[in-house]
């Protein structure tokens, strides 16, 4: 875990003081809403349908128990006892009062947390692999590289008024759990023949109105040149990204319009100019940060074999744990997707419980996943039963990771002022209907967004659902064939949309046809779709 030094703490404390002053000026009417809105947005505060919403940054999705307890405290003290984990590995609170925000941000700062740049046209929270430092296929822990970016991008004087928001993801594994091909910039740690680490740089991916996969613009960037190269990319984007149309303002449009080769050439040209300016910190800075992320000392002689005689426990171990790189250990994913519940929501009591478990059994670490679940990354297998029992008592032991009821859903029209349709009720209905058969269906990723902005990642869903407004009525489009993983692809719309019950029936028909077409239990829905194409599913739904 990264720990703040005096510099980090001073910057976060100054931010709290600054915002306290800005809120006071707004409440005294010394500052108009027009001038204030961008200031509150840059502190993660939106005005939503029912109240203000606060988005707290969870850098690269990593928390310790002290921080998760603070998130629980905030839910109790300032909200209505719960929070919502998001597809950006952040947490949102839905019932915020502006006048209480400065105290809340001070509470957060006391545990080395903040809401810097969780909204606005700036560089957002850096996301990463939720299995960092635990996954067996990892080249190196991506989080030091993400922390370096967090610091570089915080209050950047040149890149705080970009054409549009800007999202960066970093991963260090062959298996892509961070959806790097769907980010404005994706960074993948790679290794050369000498065992040296470098960076592969992808640019121009994204979802939203114009979904596009990112292009590799550099196969190998020396780590020493990391930040100056990022400056070059951002400067080309800041100067040349479109500002005339909000829907064409993301970097993916610029990359697409110029072509990846020409975009890369412009970046290299800019980089040649900025590289000599001394923008890159010395290697000692990355080493200093990396020292905070030393892998925990785990007992490799811990027993691998555990008592799996309780079938419910055995099922949970099979579905919700992954192998850890150290023998005798496991990575536990805690599902926040109990069928019928709100995807990604956790109560303050649940957060406290998970914090206790992390402290007692998981090296004091918790991760947030972009699929809106939580992870205990370093768990001895002989502690799994104790953990499972505790989770079960709190409604957190649902064994459905990456299955049909593990649905990603944005808040939708129940909370969000941008939404055109509700997402959560669709997720609830589908989860309840599909849960009984999900073990047979295997991996199936359903993702639901309540508007074209795509916070629910519908374009990356094996089955995606997009809520739209049709003459004042909620209407849902069905998309098939997306993936946000290393085999990334963009889901395509199947045909005309449906109402709330219609979309649930349509998904059931798609799944029924998949079961008929599937070659065997190892063929996932996505594989079948890729093999047979959209037609059989179109026929099943509309035929």
């Amino acid at each position: 875990m990264y720990r703040y030094d005096e510099f980090d703490q001073a910057i976060v404390d100054a931010r709290v003081a600054e915002f306290r002053d800005q809120v006071a000026r707004r409440l005294r009417n010394e500052i108009s809403e027009e001038a204030f809105k961008p200031l509150r947005l840059m502190n993660g505060i939106y005005l939503q349908l029912h109240a203000y919403m606060l988005r707290v940054a969870i850098p690269y999705g990593t928390l310790d128990s002290r921080q998760l307890r603070m998130l629980a405290h905030i839910a109790r003290r300032y909200d209505r006892g719960y929070g919502h984990f998001t597809t950006r590995q952040n947490i949102q609170y839905n019932w915020m009062k502006l006048e209480e925000m400065p105290d809340l941000l001070a509470d957060l700062a006391s545990v080395e947390m903040h809401a810097f740049q969780t909204s606005g046209n700036c560089i957002r929270n850096i996301s990463s692999d939720q299995f960092a430092a635990a996954a067996a296929d990892e080249i190196a822990d991506p989080r030091p590289y993400a922390e370096l970016l967090r610091q570089w991008s915080t209050l950047h004087p040149e890149f705080s008024f970009l054409p549009r928001k800007f999202k960066i993801a970093v991963t260090g594994s062959a298996t892509d759990r961070a959806a790097i091909q769907l980010h404005d910039i994706g960074i993948k740690l790679v290794q050369n023949g000498d065992g040296e680490i470098g960076l592969k740089v992808l640019v121009g991916g994204g979802m939203g109105r114009t979904p596009l996969l990112a292009h590799v613009i550099r196969d190998w960037l020396p780590v020493a040149d990391y930040l100056s190269y990022m400056e070059a990319i951002l400067r080309v984007y800041n100067r040349h990204g479109r500002r005339d149309n909000i829907y064409k303002a993301r970097i993916k449009i610029l990359v697409n319009d110029l072509g990846p080769a020409e975009f890369a050439r412009q970046v290299e040209d800019e980089w040649a100019r900025v590289k000599p300016l001394g923008l890159d910190p010395p290697p000692s800075e990355l080493a200093r940060i990396a020292a905070h992320f030393q892998p925990p000392v785990l007992d490799a002689s811990a027993p691998v074999a555990i008592d799996l005689s309780d079938p419910e426990f055995a099922q949970w171990v099979a579905v919700n744990t992954h192998p850890h790189k150290v023998p005798g250990h496991a990575i536990v994913t805690i599902s926040l997707k109990a069928p019928g519940e709100i995807p990604g929501d956790a109560s303050a009591d649940q957060m406290d419980l998970i914090a206790d478990l992390a402290q007692a059994h998981a090296q004091d670490e918790i991760r947030v996943t972009h699929a809106q679940n939580l992870v205990l990354p370093h768990v001895r297998r002989d502690a799994l039963f104790t953990i499972w029992q505790a989770l079960k008592g709190a409604g957190l032991a649902t064994a459905n990771l990456d299955r049909a009821s593990d649905i990603i859903s944005c808040p939708g029209l129940d909370y969000c002022t941008l939404a055109n349709a509700r997402s959560i009720p669709i997720a609830q209905k589908l989860a309840v209907k599909l849960a009984p058969q999900e073990a047979d269906l295997g991996e199936l990723k359903i993702k639901i967004s309540g508007c074209i902005n795509g916070c629910g990642h519908h374009h990356a869903g094996h089955i995606g659902i997009l809520g739209v407004d049709r003459k004042g009525e909620e209407n849902y489009q069905l998309l098939l064939g997306g993936s946000g993983a290393e085999d990334a692809s963009l889901a395509k719309i199947l045909g005309p949309g449906f109402d709330e019950n219609g979309i649930v029936n349509a998904v059931e028909k798609v799944i029924g046809r998949y079961q008929a077409l599937r070659t065997g239990p190892d063929e996932r829905f996505l594989d079948t779709y890729r093999r047979v194409g959209a037609e059989p599913f179109k026929e099943a739904v509309y035929g």
Binding site: R26, L27, N29, S32, E33, L47, Q48, L49, H50, A51, Y52, R80, N94, M96, K97, L98, E99, I342, L413, D414, Y415, A419, A421, R422, I424, P425, Q428, G472, E473, E474
Partner: protein, 95 residues
């Protein structure tokens, strides 16, 4: 069609409705402003105390106002998925 004036209080973000003499947290207290709506917005906007001032269309029913759009019904009641927080203006299941 009747039009209601609504907005969010700057200090708290609360959804509020114009009652003819002041603001209420409850849709049931709203009055139709109809043709006066624009003038009221012109009066309140410069005071900078209410954000997102807007006129919304609603139908008068036996049970009170029913906003025309799902969005405004959700805004008036609360999240349809959290009936425990529902304001008493219209039944949450009728959103």
């Amino acid at each position: 069609m009747p039009r209601l004036l609504t907005g969010n209080r700057v200090e708290t973000g609360d959804v509020i409705w114009w009652t003819g003499t002041g603001w209420s947290l409850h849709l049931k207290d709203a009055v139709a402003v109809d043709a006066d709506g624009e003038a009221l917005i012109a009066r309140f906007a410069p005071q900078e105390r209410i954000n997102d001032l807007a006129l919304i269309d609603a139908d008068a029913t036996d049970a009170g106002w029913r906003p025309r759009t799902t969005r405004e019904r959700v805004r008036a009641v609360g999240p349809s998925v959290r009936p425990d927080f529902a304001l008493p203006s219209i039944p949450v299941e009728s959103i």
